[in-house]
Symmetry: D2
Subunit: 381 residues, 4 copies
């Protein structure tokens, strides 16, 4: 039987709502059963109908939904809540949903402050509920492979990380032109204290810790706002110091005109190095001290890819897998864990997904970059 999902936010017109739904559907393990898709009741209702729900399970208000759905009988009640609303609407819905007994899938960044993040973590610890933070990029097969290679010591001692996340879509003041995506992202009340860093910088930060398996200890940031009148930073360059002496550079921008979604990471070790680029996600460039460079490819046989990457690919080599597939793997992994949870079994750790600790790290990162940039000081994360 499919797992049941209720959704907060993500109505028609949003970018991420349809992505969540396509991803959740892909592996046939999850079905949408209820939703409060927008703070605008009309939008919520139209979305629910569009998404194929029956009217009685479409809500004008997320609080109302959590209350009512929690009271439904087993087999009808949702197993988990997907929170796809803007940043300021993550914390409260998550806290209520946990209290009402639901597991959670939540968009990043986790919330607005480190304090909220700690409260959420504590609530999850107390209730023992599952929590998945949609750092979707971790679920690409070649990201899994990269992480495995570092963990297995194939690169030797990691020395340097160069991570970039560049977009250009906010090169003009889109938030004043009726672009809904831009509006809330540029609004401190809804996005939080960080703009670009919250939206995409956290992905870059999380991926660098995810692949290296090492934590950033401190950082030095310069945040910039290039578009006049904008209230949050739309760009930033950050120096990173990880545990174990790893040094890094993180560059993020939403005013890098012409860049689409140029998220890339390079890891340099004492024996080898690797490069992964989100826009060509099925290749992992690997370089060695004494051998010609190699390109590892998604789907090119489990043997070459490694076991874990193999678990995260659906097609033979050369049949490109993309953003939705990776997002779907995140859902699939969460669903597998949730199935195990329901059966009281131990989940398979090879089907991992980012959780509350990643969320808390992300909030510490955001707090640190904002503080460092303001104070012009190296700041602990």
């Amino acid at each position: 039987m499919k797992l049941k999902m209720a959704m907060i936010g993500g109505g028609i017109g949003s970018f991420i709502g349809p992505v969540h739904l396509m991803a959740a559907r892909m592996d046939n393990m999850i079905e949408l059963v209820a939703g409060a898709f927008s703070s605008n009741p009309g939008t919520s209702r139209r979305s629910g109908i569009e998404y194929g729900l029956s009217k009685e399970r479409i809500y004008d208000d997320w609080h109302d939904m959590i209350c009512k759905e929690a009271g439904l009988p087993d087999g009808i009640r949702p197993d988990f809540i997907c929170i796809a609303s803007p940043n300021h609407l993550h914390f409260k819905p998550a806290m209520e949903a946990i209290a009402a007994g639901f597991h959670i899938v939540c968009d990043k960044p986790l919330c607005l402050t480190v304090e909220e993040a700690i409260q959420l973590r504590d609530a999850l610890r107390t209730t023992n509920k599952l929590f998945c933070l949609t750092h979707n990029y971790t679920a690409y097969p070649m990201v899994k492979k990269a992480r495995e290679m570092v963990r297995d010591g194939e690169l030797g001692i990691v020395r340097k990380v160069v991570v970039e996340y560049l977009q250009g879509w906010l090169s003009d003041r889109e938030e004043e032109k009726g672009n809904k995506q831009a509006e809330w992202r540029a609004d401190p009340a809804r996005a939080g204290n960080a703009g670009c860093m919250g939206d995409i910088g956290t992905h870059a930060f999380q991926l660098s810790e995810y692949i290296t398996g090492k934590k950033v200890e401190k950082l030095y940031a310069q945040l910039n706002t290039f578009v006049e009148g904008r209230l949050l930073e739309d760009d930033g360059n950050v120096l990173l110091n990880f545990e174990c002496g790893i040094k890094g550079s993180l560059v993020a921008s939403q005013v890098a005109l012409g860049e689409e979604n140029a998220f890339s990471i390079r890891i340099y070790g004492s024996n080898g190095s690797l490069r992964w680029e989100q826009m060509e996600p099925n290749s992992l460039v690997v370089r060695w001290k004494d051998r010609p460079m190699q390109v590892y490819r998604t789907g090119a046989g489990f043997k070459a890819m490694g076991h874990i990457a193999g678990l995260h690919t659906r097609l033979p080599a050369g049949h490109p897998e993309g953003f939705i597939e990776a997002f779907a793997s995140l859902y699939r992994n969460f669903a597998l864990h949730l199935q195990s949870y329901k059966k009281g079994e131990k989940p398979d750790p090879d089907y991992d997904y980012p959780g509350i600790e990643d969320g808390l790290r992300g909030m510490r990162f955001l707090e640190a970059v904002v503080r460092s940039s303001r104070n012009k000081k190296w700041t602990n994360v």
Copy 2:
């Protein structure tokens, strides 16, 4: 309400079955309701359960399924049959399904002979049923754009076509090693008179006619079998002469060791040219007589992509869309046409999909390459 699909073939262990299902699910317009997934009853049943069907709608035999499902009441009865079985099991199921009142989605190549293809076409004409042949590559956004550019004359008069489809997975005698995918493809009884040309050459042929909008009039082929003991060709080079003086080269191979799924097409005209590569499907390289080359990108704003390509993309630029998404667009387009059909409305031609005429052309192509290679003569298509 979702359209209802019954499936023939495509059980667990097949490549294309899960692809059909992921694709059909993506846009939430279609649901699987019945299936005869394998000639092996056990496999069929396990597949049906895995795919989430209730037992009474899982069949051991496709003929049985068509009979029984045809008798179900409206609202339960499938709207269409998806035929995902090996080539020799396309024609009969399709004929019976049409006779039983179903619409059809069918894998390529259409069938085994031109005669069968003509019968199928006539049956469809008589019954006025919809038929979609899964030349899935036509549904990539940049293929739509390429076709639109040629149609609008942006390239001037088309002169030359270079189309290639190279794979390496049959470089050894996989059909003797228990590889199910290889077994039927290498078996003339199940694959037909052509191996590599039927499996992938038809895609190359169809795409070249699809994008240019011109028909191949005659061709000169050399088919080759490199792996000892193999009964069908695993490689071929073909010279193509299209209408209007367009000259072409078609190279296909399944023993091009190291190639994954390297399907590409280049079109050279008197004013411009374009190149599309399936393995980087979100880029279309366009070159001009007097301007620097351009790269058109999926998702880069409807304006630049053009309207039709825009209808076939789901994500903003830089969020890679892949094979499954294109396959899903084919299903989506078919579903839209079927919805219009059911409402008695005219479908929107911008949501096109390949049909029975493409299937017939494909059979003529296969007949011609086999004959030309044997006779060493230019052969009409």
Copy 3:
């Protein structure tokens, strides 16, 4: 002491003249001492002055030059003649130069007919003079590596060759617009019986034999003329059958609008395959049956490149070497052979260069493609 070169053709305004001179100068082994640079005496004189010659060694006429220069004393007399004139002015100057005791560097294609080629070969045999045909692409380091890999059996048994040489600069009737390069190439009296095939198809043919080490036994060609009024073909597609069952496709065009100098070759064997592209000449993509693909790179340490490729690179990895460097290596290799010749020593075979046999093969190729295309028959080469 530097070797002394006299030049026929290649005056200012030509493409290839300055290339020869930059290439000959690069390794400081050769100096230009005399020249008859153009059939136009004024151009010849201006060229000679521009090229730094003293007036008495600039000639209006190549015949005159050969006579006079042959009579100069040792240490002043040229060691070899470089023939950089259009195709129709290769044979006679070469024959006379050989007769006058000079060694030869000559542009391709060798001459106008197979008969001329045979006469030239016989003259060289009789006189034991050195002859270098400037199939310059053979001198790229990664071409050397490719050839070595095939020779050493690393790819297993070679099965398929896909070679392309695409340019777009003759997409319009340039020969009517005062473009000197186009004029003689489009003129049968000066270019010979073939246009595109003579100019670039011969490079493709020669490289495929050079890397595989196998001869093309027969071919089937379709030559095309797309630009109205043009007298020679500007495009062609050719099926190739090599010794040992290797099958190939050769596509050449000078009306592939937008293509710059897109010369590439792919070789598929039973154990591995490789791809080289002239426009990114410092990479050689190598694919294997059971290992991830590799990219071999110029300069990346002699060990990985192999000895012979290492002899043909001048810079550390990542410092791009290009067309002129490869051309220079051809001259360097010829110069080394000539030095050995003068000392009566055996030359080092690792510094090879194409010679008269390649020239004769090229003429047989041109004769065969023209005949095959006319007769629509497989034709022996």
Copy 4:
């Protein structure tokens, strides 16, 4: 008549010596007439002979050479001195050479301290001699085009610069393994206060100022030494603040294992952006707000490239030009200026080359990165 060059350093076994000579020879405007090629007299003599000099103009000692050569008559005396020795041997030879009446071509970084740089600048001002600093990357055609595009405002207001220079060849302690190139670069007495930053960081810094036309006002640096026992930094990440609010990131490393010579720059403006990569130097990727991305190509017709880039290319499109060609253009430009100087004419500013001001900027940059990294403070350049 060719310009006459004497050389200090650059003997056989060095990387840069042969590069200087190949570059100087390419355009036939310069000839080597004398040299003191090494601090080891035997090496100097062997080098001079290898380079084709007569014995009396090969020197054991650069000081000696300057004295003697300065006394030679017009037409024999060198016009300029090329200084290709390690960093610590730039300042004194340059000062003496200037005093002796020679013009200078000098390797980068200019010298060891800002003070030396100022003295050199003053000496040049007083004597009115020409000085070329071999920031050779500025002479690539697509770098010229990039600079022209910024200058002409095509990108709008420049906002962000991302510049990287990554090498991996010092990932191990090469300086202890007899690698001459590594030895002096890792020795503070010969390299100066900076290792990686002096060797390649200065190129990155200079190029970012060269293309943007704006000066870096202050920077924040973290320099790192990854290889144990090494005395100078082998890696660094730097935040840059330019005039006019441009923000930048500069990443340089010589322990980025697997990187060859990965020098790249991206410039983001309010209307467009560009990317250039040294390892594919003939392409310039240009992106626009409302149009598909373009790729400008070397040689693709002067019109598209622009006039200045056209002056710095030698071949038609698709014939790759590389490192030596760019280096040669630097020499060619210097030679043109020197010819004008000798004739008392004004040189053509389109044939520019970096000079003493670039050298002084480079020393200020090095002083600032070392100081910033030590003090953990933003530091003026």
